[in-house]
Symmetry: C2
Subunit: 351 residues, 2 copies
């Protein structure tokens, strides 16, 4: 049965003795089909192993059952080429694929340049060839207003991940500000009164918001501004290590570090080792990101887990809803989580 290739809607219609349109209505769960007919059609579909042809559906109707997820070409390729891997992409695939699969959709990945000249053209081309039912923009494309506007003009639903600004699109994000504040409070509870935030790059909206949250939380705790040092290390191991080496060798050094990504947190671990600082007794470390490798660092890193896969899953769900005619436009905030491992713990009094 299922082995007979190319069962078409016409075959099903003939088997039941109805027209192709009736079968089509059953497939699309349309109204106005007598219950007894619907059952017979469904039985025949199962028996013949009929699966609708996606291309034909797209040609006839307009829906392609495809969701396109767009990533930053340069950064993604750089990560791969440097052997760093792309946990972000992996997580996107997880959330996106599982959600799409549930709904009978498919996820297609695409890299496009961030160059303002190239981005719209490349996206246009992908749209023209694939005609997806929805598009997911991730940072930094999610911050590109022009792209979102273009998509809307063409009537393609668009979801932006990692920004909370809009009302016209689907926006999915976590509260970066609150996450940073939570990290600070975690360290405060464990007795730290001087800490540093190792920031990534101000080009990333998330970085900025985390810095804000960091400062606000310290202020709310009644601590001086100097109690919170902010240093910019551009997400890189080497830059971070250099900065930290100086910072942690000083007499009034911070006793807690909050790093904007795992790589810089690893740098902190590395420097602590170099300076013979025990982690977490002499130095506590919290990372943002929580890639799989952090479980195996020595000691394993305490980290804030971004809900990456959940954000993508939500984005897909909304886009699919919209393509079905529901109104799912809006902003969705997803919860982060502080995962306590071994780089934080009760502060030991200095000897």
């Amino acid at each position: 049965m299922a082995d007979k290739a190319k069962v078409t809607i016409e075959d099903v219609a003939r088997a039941v003795g109805v027209s192709r349109q009736t079968v089509s209505r059953v497939i699309n769960k349309g109204p106005n089909v007598k219950e007894s007919v619907r059952e017979k059609v469904e039985e025949a579909i199962a028996r013949l192993g009929y699966i609708p042809n996606l291309s034909a559906r797209r040609m006839g109707g307009g829906r392609s059952f495809l969701i396109l997820a767009v990533n930053d070409r340069q950064r993604t390729l750089e990560n791969w080429q440097a052997g760093r891997g792309n946990d972000w992409v992996d997580q996107m695939l997880y959330g996106g694929m599982t959600e799409c699969e549930k709904e009978g959709y498919h996820l297609v990945f695409e890299l496009i340049d961030t160059d303002p000249q190239l981005a719209p053209v490349q996206l246009s081309n992908s749209i023209a060839s694939l005609r997806p039912d929805g598009i997911i923009l991730t940072p930094p494309h999610s911050d590109n207003e022009e792209l979102a506007r273009m998509l809307t003009n063409r009537g393609i639903p668009c979801a932006r991940v990692g920004r909370s600004a809009g009302t016209d699109y689907v926006d999915v994000f976590m509260d970066e500000n609150a996450a940073a504040a939570e990290a600070v409070r975690h360290l405060l509870r464990q007795g730290h009164s001087k800490m540093a935030f190792l920031a990534g790059s101000p080009e990333y909206g998330s970085s900025q918001k985390r810095v804000e949250g960091f400062r606000k939380a310290l202020q709310e705790a009644g601590l001086e501004v100097e109690a919170g040092v902010v240093a910019k290390a551009n997400f890189q191991f080497d830059t971070a290590a250099e900065l930290l080496l100086e910072m942690l060798d000083a007499p009034d050094r911070p006793t807690g570090i909050i790093a904007d990504n795992d790589e810089m947190a690893f740098a902190a671990l590395h420097v602590a080792d170099k300076l013979s600082l025990n982690v977490p007794d002499d130095l506590a470390i919290i990372s943002f990101e929580d890639t799989p490798g952090v479980r195996f660092s020595v000691p394993p890193l305490t980290a804030i887990r971004q809900p990456t896969s959940e954000m993508i899953a939500r984005a897909c769900a909304c886009l699919i809803d919209i393509s079905r005619g529901k109104d799912a436009v809006g902003s969705y905030e997803l919860p982060f989580r502080l995962i306590e491992r071994a780089t934080t713990g009760p502060r030991q009094p200095a000897l």
Copy 2:
């Protein structure tokens, strides 16, 4: 220009004053088009920003410009759910997407169950809806003869990754046997004479071949069989740690460990720390896999890098060639690489 949605082949034909078929010939680089006409058509395509509609091409011609990559559902989901990530999937995406993009194809991922009942049905359904031009089977699906046969019967080119057995399909692989031997030789050169292979699971063909390579290399070096211990730890941290704790606490313990994956190598690192064995002075460790996290272990792991992204890229390239009528069926062996980091080094004489 490029902003005008929905430019069709007919628009281009009208603009140049030729028929749609002539434009089609130009797009598909077909023969029998006068050079002057070809140029005019190409100019018009660029000017109008025409991009062929994939669904229509599929309907008309038969090619979908889609490559389907199939992974083990259970194992992949487990990895994701456990927070372990799927470096394998990430690497697949890297190799597959870049290759497909170059050729104007698209890559679609799919998870299917390994259950022998479900696998063919799920694959059938995906084929029916997507009608891909080629399918990539990864372990353990690549070892499922039935799947490959079914695809051939339906005329869908199929590439199998990670096995070297066939001649009727595209098979892409690395020499696992030689890789294990290379790891052994690396340790021998550094003065080790007793070593252990921490094997994953015999269900994986690669595991078996590595054990063979391990044994053969020791034998060729003129060492006793007892010089090479093989222990099965099922790819898991805990199981490996338990085994190693016993093995490394004995008086005639091995001084070198070769682990079948990174997770078990991390376990070795963990146990060495527990037993106060210095790595690499007291214990050398080599891992198979080389996920991004190994760079940050303390010390960073020496590892054999599988050419995952390269294998997938090659598989895509072959499938695309085949869909274009070329004969690219055959076996392709890709080189692995031993990446020396800090868990191996010249053996220090015991005190």
